[in-house]
C-alpha cells in the first residue's frame, strides 16, 4: 500500500510537467491544426535559460523565493519570445502550404534548436547539474504501520504539482474569462469568421504560441532543478507530452492536463511494478492503443475541418 502510494505521488509529480508541456501542443493544434514538434525544444531552452540565470545570480546569494521567481520568470519570458519567433519565422510563411511541408519544418526547427543548444555559445554538449538554488528536501514523511513503510513527498514534488495546478487554473481563467481567451476559442474554430469579428488572427496565434511556450518553460525549469540540464532533454518529455495531448484529445485543454498526469502515473507504475526498461516505451504503447481504440482521446472534442 505505501509502495503504491509512493509511486502515485512520484507519478503525479512527473505527470505534472508532462501536463504543462502537453498544454502547449494542444493549444497550438487548436489554432493551427499543427503538431509543433519543436515544442520539446522550447522546454529544453527553458531549462537552459534558467541555468544561465541561476549561475548569473548565484554570487548575490538571494533568498530561495526571490531566486526562484527570477529564474522561472526569466525562463518563461525568454521562451515566450522563442515561441513567438518560431511561429513568426518558421510557420507563418507556410500558413497556406500543405500540412506535410509544415510538419517537416517543425522537425527542422526542433533539430536546429537541439544543435544550437549543443554549441558552447548556447549551452554545450555535456549535461550540467543545476546550480544549487533549492535543495531537494523531504517535506512530508508519512509512516504507515511500521518504520519500513514510509511515504515521502519532497519540496520538488510540491513545486512541480503546485505550479502545474496553479498554472492550469490561470490558463483556464485566461481562456474562459478574458477577451484574449475568447479570441483564441474563436480562432480555433475558423480564421475567416474570426477576422470578420475584428480579431487580428495573426496576433491571436502569436499569443497562443507565447502562452504555450511559457508553460513549457516552467516544466523545463522544474526538470532542470530535479535532474540536470542537457541539450537533448526535450526529446523524451516532448514525445510523452505529445502522447498525453493525444490521450486527452488533441485540441482539448483540460484533456491535455489530465492526459499529462495519466501518462506520468502509467510510466511510474510500469517502472515500479514491471521494469524501468519499459518506462519510456509505455508512452508509445499508450499512443498506439488510443489511436486504435479511441482516436479522439479521453476528452476529445468536436472536430471541424478548418478553413
Amino acid at each position: 500500500m505505501d509502495y503504491l502510494t509512493q509511486q502515485l505521488i512520484n507519478g503525479l509529480s512527473i505527470g505534472a510537467t508532462y501536463a504543462l508541456i502537453a498544454l502547449g501542443y494542444t493549444m497550438v493544434y487548436g489554432v493551427l491544426r499543427l503538431i509543433n514538434f519543436a515544442h520539446g525544444e522550447v522546454y529544453m531552452m527553458g531549462a537552459v535559460v534558467a541555468y544561465w540565470i541561476a549561475i548569473g545570480i548565484a554570487p548575490w546569494g538571494w533568498p530561495v523565493w526571490g531566486a526562484l521567481a527570477v529564474i522561472f520568470g526569466g525562463a518563461m519570458g525568454a521562451c515566450a519570445v522563442l515561441g513567438f519567433a518560431i511561429e513568426f519565422f518558421a510557420y507563418r510563411p507556410l500558413r497556406n502550404k500543405p500540412r506535410l511541408v509544415v510538419l517537416i519544418t517543425a522537425i527542422g526547427v526542433s533539430l536546429l534548436l537541439q544543435n544550437l543548444a549543443q554549441t558552447r555559445y548556447v549551452f554545450g554538449p555535456t549535461p550540467e547539474a543545476f546550480p544549487a538554488v533549492i535543495e531537494a528536501k523531504t517535506v512530508v514523511r508519512w509512516t504507515m504501520g511500521g518504520p519500513d513503510n514510509v511515504v515521502t513527498v519532497s519540496n520538488l514534488d510540491l513545486l512541480s504539482l503546485g505550479l502545474s495546478l496553479g498554472l492550469m487554473g490561470v490558463l483556464a481563467w485566461v481562456v474562459l474569462r478574458t477577451r484574449q481567451g475568447l479570441a483564441l476559442r474563436a480562432v480555433s474554430y475558423r480564421f475567416d469568421t474570426s477576422s470578420l469579428m475584428g480579431i487580428n488572427t495573426n496576433r491571436t496565434i502569436s499569443f497562443t504560441f507565447m502562452l504555450g511556450s511559457a508553460l513549457a518553460a516552467v516544466a523545463g525549469v522544474v526538470d532542470a532543478i530535479r535532474y540536470d540540464v542537457r541539450p537533448l532533454m526535450g526529446l523524451m518529455p516532448g514525445l510523452k507530452a505529445f502522447v498525453a495531448a493525444v490521450l486527452g484529445g488533441i485540441g482539448s485543454i483540460p484533456g491535455a492536463f489530465v492526459g499529462g498526469l495519466v501518462i506520468g502515473l502509467i510510466e511510474t507504475l510500469v517502472k515500479g511494478y514491471l521494469s524501468s526498461a519499459y518506462s519510456d516505451a509505455v508512452a508509445f504503447v499508450v499512443l498506439i492503443v488510443i489511436l486504435l481504440v479511441r482516436p479522439s482521446g479521453i476528452l476529445g472534442r468536436y472536430e471541424a475541418e478548418k478553413l
Binding site: R179, R185, T193, S195, L196, G198, I199, R301
Partner: protein, 236 residues
C-alpha cells in the same frame, strides 16, 4: 457615397469571378444585390471585407479611404460588419459569447452591455437563449444571432449575405422586418439575396449581378417591374 466599388476584378486562380464590378452605396440606404448561383455576390462581399484580394479596381470608404489591401479586422474597425453566407455561428460558444465576439474591438464592458441590450431588444429570443451553445440554435435563431453579432460592432455599414437562406417564409418575413428596423435606426445596409422579391421589397435601390458583371441597376421599385428581372429572378 459611403462605399463605392469601382471596376473591381477578383479571380480564383484562372476563374474570373468579378469582371469590373461597380457599385455605390449612399448613407442610410438599403441596397440589394441580386443574382443567380455563382454570379459572384459572395465574392463581392468578401472582397469588400478584406477576406479576398482584388486584382484590379478600388473600394473606397467615404470617398477617400481605400479598403483594398486592408486586413479583414481592420475593415471591421472602420465600421463595416459582415454577416457571412451560411451565418457561420461559432457552434461551440454560447450565444452570449458569439455576441461578445461581434463587439470584439470594443473594450468597455459597459458599452458592450448596452449594445447587447439593444440586440436583445431586436431579437428577444436571443436573450432567452443567451447561455445556449450557438450550434444548438435553430436556423432562424442562428440567423438572428449572426445579425445581432454583427450589430454588436455598431457598424455604419452592414453587409448581409443571403439572410433568407434555408429559412421558412414566416422567419424570412421577420428577418426582413428587422433589417428595415435596423436601417431606420441609421445603419446603411448592403443586402445580397437570391430571394429577389423580398430583397427588392425592402431595398431602396438594387443591382443585378450576372456572371461577374453588373447587368442592371435601378431603384428597387423599377427593378420589380423590369421584364428581364421578372423573368429571371421573380419567377415570371
Amino acid at each position: 457615397m459611403l462605399l463605392s466599388v469601382n471596376n473591381l476584378e477578383v479571380s480564383y486562380g484562372a476563374i474570373a469571378a468579378l469582371q469590373g464590378v461597380s457599385v455605390s452605396i449612399d448613407r442610410g440606404e438599403i441596397v440589394a444585390l441580386i443574382g443567380a448561383n455563382g454570379a459572384g455576390k459572395t465574392t463581392l462581399l468578401r472582397t469588400i471585407s478584406g477576406l479576398l484580394k482584388a486584382k484590379g479596381g478600388s473600394v473606397l470608404w467615404e470617398g477617400k479611404k481605400e479598403l483594398r489591401g486592408l486586413a479583414a479586422h481592420e475593415v471591421v474597425g472602420l465600421g463595416i460588419s459582415h454577416v457571412p453566407e451560411g451565418r457561420q455561428i461559432f457552434p461551440h460558444l454560447s450565444a452570449r459569447e458569439n455576441l461578445m465576439l461581434g463587439g470584439y474591438q470594443e473594450r468597455s464592458n459597459g458599452v458592450l452591455r448596452e449594445r447587447m441590450e439593444r440586440v436583445f431588444g431586436l431579437f428577444p429570443v436571443l436573450a432567452e437563449r443567451s447561455e445556449q451553445r450557438g450550434g444548438t440554435l435553430s436556423g432562424g435563431e442562428q440567423q438572428m444571432l449572426a445579425i445581432g453579432r454583427a450589430m454588436m460592432g455598431r457598424p455604419r455599414l452592414l453587409l448581409l449575405d443571403e439572410p433568407s437562406l434555408g429559412l421558412a417564409p414566416l422567419v424570412v418575413r421577420k428577418i426582413f422586418q428587422i433589417i428595415r428596423e435596423i436601417n431606420a435606426e441609421g445603419t446603411t445596409i448592403f443586402l445580397v439575396e437570391q430571394n429577389a422579391h423580398m430583397a427588392l421589397t425592402v431595398a431602396h435601390r438594387g443591382y443585378v449581378l450576372q456572371t461577374g458583371r453588373v447587368m442592371l441597376t435601378d431603384t428597387a421599385s423599377e427593378l420589380l417591374e423590369h421584364s428581364d428581372v421578372k423573368k429571371a429572378y421573380l419567377g415570371g
